[in-house]
Structure formats: C-alpha cells, structure tokens
C-alpha cells in the first residue's frame, strides 16, 4: 500500500477526480474550493484532458451537462452561493439522466455570506434548488481520506445510475491537511454505449431531452426516475455508527462535524452515559430506515450541525415521533466544540437521571 501523505482536502478531491478518470473539468473560482480548479488546470493539461475555466458557474455546470451527455466523465466544483446558480442545470441533469459530478465545498450563507465554513446547504443539496421532482445522490466526507474515497464513489454512482452526484464537503475539509492515501480507483467502468451521444453514424439518432409533451409520458418519466431513486436507496444507502447497540442517546452529525461528535460521545461515555454516534455518509439517499430501527431503543437523538437546523428535520421524519429529537447548532463560523456538545447533551438530561 502506498504511504500516507499530508494532503489538503481540496487537492485530495482534485487528484481523486483525475484518478477516477475525470476527462473534463469546467469551473469558476470561488473560496474555499479554488485549489481544486487551480490544481486541475495544470494536471489536466499535463494529461491531455479537458479543462476550461468557464466565464461563470452557470456556464461551467452547463458545460458539464454537455460533456457528460457524450458519455465523458465530467465534473465541476464550486461553493454555496455559486452552487445556487447551478440549480436549474441540476434539475435538467436529473431529468435528462446525465451523470454530472459536482463538488460543493460549503461556505457561509445565505446570499453572498462569507468564506468561512458552514453546513447551510444541506437542504439545497438533498432536496434540490431546481424545479420539479428530482433527487441527486449526495455524499458527505468527514476526513481528507474520505474526500478521496467519496470522490471515487461519486464518479462511480453517477455513471452507474446515470444520476447527478454531489460531494458535499465544507470549507474546513477543503482547507485542512491530514494524512491520507490514494488507493486505486476501486470501481468497475460502466458501459454507456447504449445512451451516450457519440454521433449517429451507423446507428439510430438519439436525443437527451427533458421535454415531455404529453401528460402520460411525463408521468411515466417521473415514475421511472423515482423507481431508480428507490433502487439507489436500497443499494447505496451508507452510514457510520459507533456504540449505538446499548445507547440511550445517539449524537447525529454529517460531514466534518462527525469528528466532534465522535469525541463528544467518548467523553459522555466516560461520564457514565450510554451515548453513541450516527452519521449518514449518503445524505441522499438518507439512512432513514436504520434511524427508525434505532429509535426502538434509543431514547433521544441529538443532531449537531452548523446551520439553523436542516438535517434535524430528516432525522425527525425518520424516527416518526417514536423518540425525542433535539438540536445543538450554530449558524456559521467556529465549529461547535467537543465541550459545547457535551454541555449541550447534559442540558437535555433531566436532573436525577444517571
């Protein structure tokens, strides 16, 4: 196995994209993910692959849509307020079933917000900011190693299901360095010769189009999309849990906040409380089934996130009233510390218990 090296999250994502076989990158710079485009501008040139610094984010995502329509592995990367600009194209890409890969390294919002890290795009990523009924696949790394592994996975899943796939990181992960290793791209290549627009010479012409002029066809199209989403949920839902078997309280977080709840759960165990941790790795599909199972014995879920409370709603839906769901949060800025989480959890425990 290759030796670990100290890698910045943004560079890890960029090099993982190269190793996953990304053939073209289109992007527009924005802090805190500019290093992805910076790195690829040289690397893609050296490899003779496609790189365009687009005139805007709108152009970049539509270039990805065009390139991916031809069967090429194509991606863009951006951050919060600029990902907002891409939402229309993502709705199209979902309806067109084009395997777009998009990396969102979240910063603070709403509006222009600022460049420091936040987790305020959960809802935008999971529910979508475009029109109509659609779902992206959304993967949330918590370490630099996972920036690599989940970028690999994003390319694979997007191709396998012909569905736009997002890696939802945050400024903290993008900017930090941590030891990590590039394993070999572990997934098989997906044959796309039955749908890609590669020129109609010698075969029937094809078109990729989201217009459905008849009501019946539109209903059938959406039903097919949602059958696919069910299949994705069945096959690809992924999560991590520690110490949940006997837990009374389970801390839930996503992305880099996972690190803090893992440490907080250990501290709370040390105080004699039965505390576990749970984190969705796929935010969409969301591991609702497992959370619902856990709510049979867990007395309280405490969701910890850097926004005004977004994923907490999905946890509530998952447990469907069977158990309490609480929130510890901050809107943006300094990540909630292990001590703040521990204090927050202790406040939820009625006096005299334990």
């Amino acid at each position: 196995m290759a030796e670990k090296e100290l890698l910045k999250g943004n560079y890890a994502i960029a090099e993982a994209a190269v190793r996953a076989g990304c053939e073209c990158y289109f992007g527009y710079p924005i802090t805190p993910q500019t290093e992805i485009g910076e790195y690829l501008s040289q690397r893609m040139y050296d490899l003779g692959r496609g790189y365009v610094c687009a005139e805007s984010e709108l152009a970049a995502i539509n270039m990805v849509l065009g390139a991916a329509s031809t069967g090429a592995k194509a991606m863009t990367s951006s951050s919060s307020c600029a990902v907002a600009l891409m939402q229309e194209a993502l709705s199209y890409a979902c309806s067109d079933e084009v395997p777009v890969v998009l990396v969102n390294v979240m910063r603070a919002g709403p509006g222009l917000g600022y460049i420091y890290p936040a987790q305020g795009d959960y809802t935008q990523a999971v529910y979508g900011g475009g029109n109509g009924d659609y779902k992206m696949i959304v993967l949330a790394p918590s370490t630099v190693q996972e920036c690599i592994d989940l970028t690999y996975k994003a390319f694979y899943l997007s191709q396998k299901y012909r569905n736009p796939t997002m890696v939802l990181a945050d400024g903290l992960l993008g900017q930090m360095m941590e030891p990590a290793v590039f394993s070999k791209y572990p997934y098989p290549e997906i044959d796309n010769s039955n749908w890609a627009l590669t020129g109609a010479k010698g075969r029937e012409g094809r078109k990729i189009c989201s217009v459905a002029p008849s009501e019946e066809k539109q209903i059938e199209h959406i039903n097919n999309l949602f059958k696919k989403y069910e299949l994705i949920a069945e096959n690809e839902t992924e999560w991590e849990e520690i110490g949940t078997e006997d837990a009374d309280i389970v801390l839930v977080a996503f992305g880099s906040m996972t690190r803090n709840i893992k440490a907080a759960a250990k501290v709370l165990r040390g105080q004699g409380l039965k505390v576990g941790m749970f984190r969705p790795i796929t935010l969409s599909p969301f591991p609702s089934g497992r959370l619902n199972e856990l709510s049979n014995h867990v007395k309280k879920f405490v969701v910890v996130e850097m926004n005004m409370g977004q994923m907490v709603n999905d946890v509530k839906l998952a447990v469907n009233g069977k158990t309490d769901v609480e929130l510890i949060n901050r809107s943006v800025g300094q990540w909630l510390s292990v001590e703040e989480i521990v204090d927050g959890v202790n406040k939820f425990i009625p006096a005299g218990v334990n």
């Binding site: 100290l6 805190p32 460049i115 400024g171 903290l172 360095m177 941590e178 990540w335 510390s337």
Partner: protein
C-alpha cells in the same frame, strides 16, 4: 491525548510553511495530525496563522476555541492569541519582534530572538524554522532526522536546495541551553 498548536505571524514569515513542516514531522513520528490555516483575504504583510492538532487517536475538532501552545512570530500575533491560551499552556515568542512582557501569570513564556538567530544561521527569513527548533527542544521528542524528512516533503522541487539552510535555522533554535538563554 490531543494537543493543539497555533503558529502565527506576518504573511511572508513562512507561517503556513512552518505549520506544514511541523504537521509532517508529527505524521512521520506516527501521530495523527491535522493542519488548518486561516484562509481568505490574507496577504503578504498581513497576519496569518495555522492550527495543528496532534493526537494518538483520531483527531476530533480541527479548529478549536482555545490552544495549548502558541508560536508567535510577531507582536500582533502575541496580542491576538495571548488570551486564547489554555491555563497552564505555553507561548513561544520571537523576541526579535515581540516585547518581553508577561500579561498573564497562568501560562509559560519562552522568549527567544528568532530573527537574530535565523540571521546568524545563514538566512534572516527563517525565524519560522528557528521557532520549530525551540518547540522541538521543549515540547516534543521530534528529532533532526524527522525534520529533515519533513522539510524535504514540504519544499517544492525548485526549492529543494534550500533544505540545508532550513535545517540550520531549525538547529539554531534547537539548543539544549535554551532555558539558560
């Protein structure tokens, strides 16, 4: 056991470079480590800092609210971070650019003329590496071999010839007579 360090100074003093060297050194000594910079509108002449967290286990919070040890390369950094140090923590100061005052009595101070020592060692720009020498003298068991490896990793190809002058500067901080200095 988790411990965090902040290195802070002017943009151009090699703050991020020193942080990367230190983080690599910890990695080579078998620890788990993260490096996190302040980022954004920083520029040469402005202030810059980075935070390194070291742990025997998985690193938890990458960017903490308080700090075990600060390396301050200029006065602004001293003023900014002095209040963030944990009780019983430590600040290592470049006394070439920082006034020797002790506003708190619950932390340990080390003043060392890093810019002067760097100049004596061959390059006045390398106060950053002198500071790592001081740090490894008193804080950790990181040795010269590990730093040689770390410097080699962090220096880009076109700067590899500067490895030895960096290590000289490190040695200028790594004097076992420090406590008498």
């Amino acid at each position: 056991m988790e411990k965090n360090y902040i290195i802070a100074g002017f943009g151009g003093q090699g703050v991020l470079f020193a942080g990367k060297v230190l983080a690599n050194a910890f990695m080579y000594s078998g620890k788990n480590v993260t490096w996190y910079p302040c980022y954004g509108a920083e520029m040469r002449g402005g202030t810059v800092n980075c935070e390194i967290v070291v742990s025997d286990e998985e690193v938890s919070s990458v960017h903490k609210q308080d700090v075990d040890c600060v390396i301050a390369l200029n006065q602004l950094s001293f003023d900014r971070f002095i209040t963030k140090i944990k009780k019983g923590g430590r600040i290592i100061c470049n006394s070439s650019l920082i006034e020797e005052v002790r506003p708190r009595n619950d932390i340990e101070y080390i003043f060392y003329p890093m810019t002067e020592k760097a100049t004596e060692s061959g390059n006045h720009k390398l106060a950053n590496m002198v500071s790592l020498g001081v740090l490894s003298d008193i804080e950790t068991s990181l040795d010269k071999n590990i730093f040689e490896r770390a410097v080699d990793t962090v220096l880009p190809e076109e700067r590899k010839h500067l490895a030895s002058v960096n290590i000289n500067a490190w040695s200028a901080g790594h004097c076992n007579t420090l406590l008498a200095c």
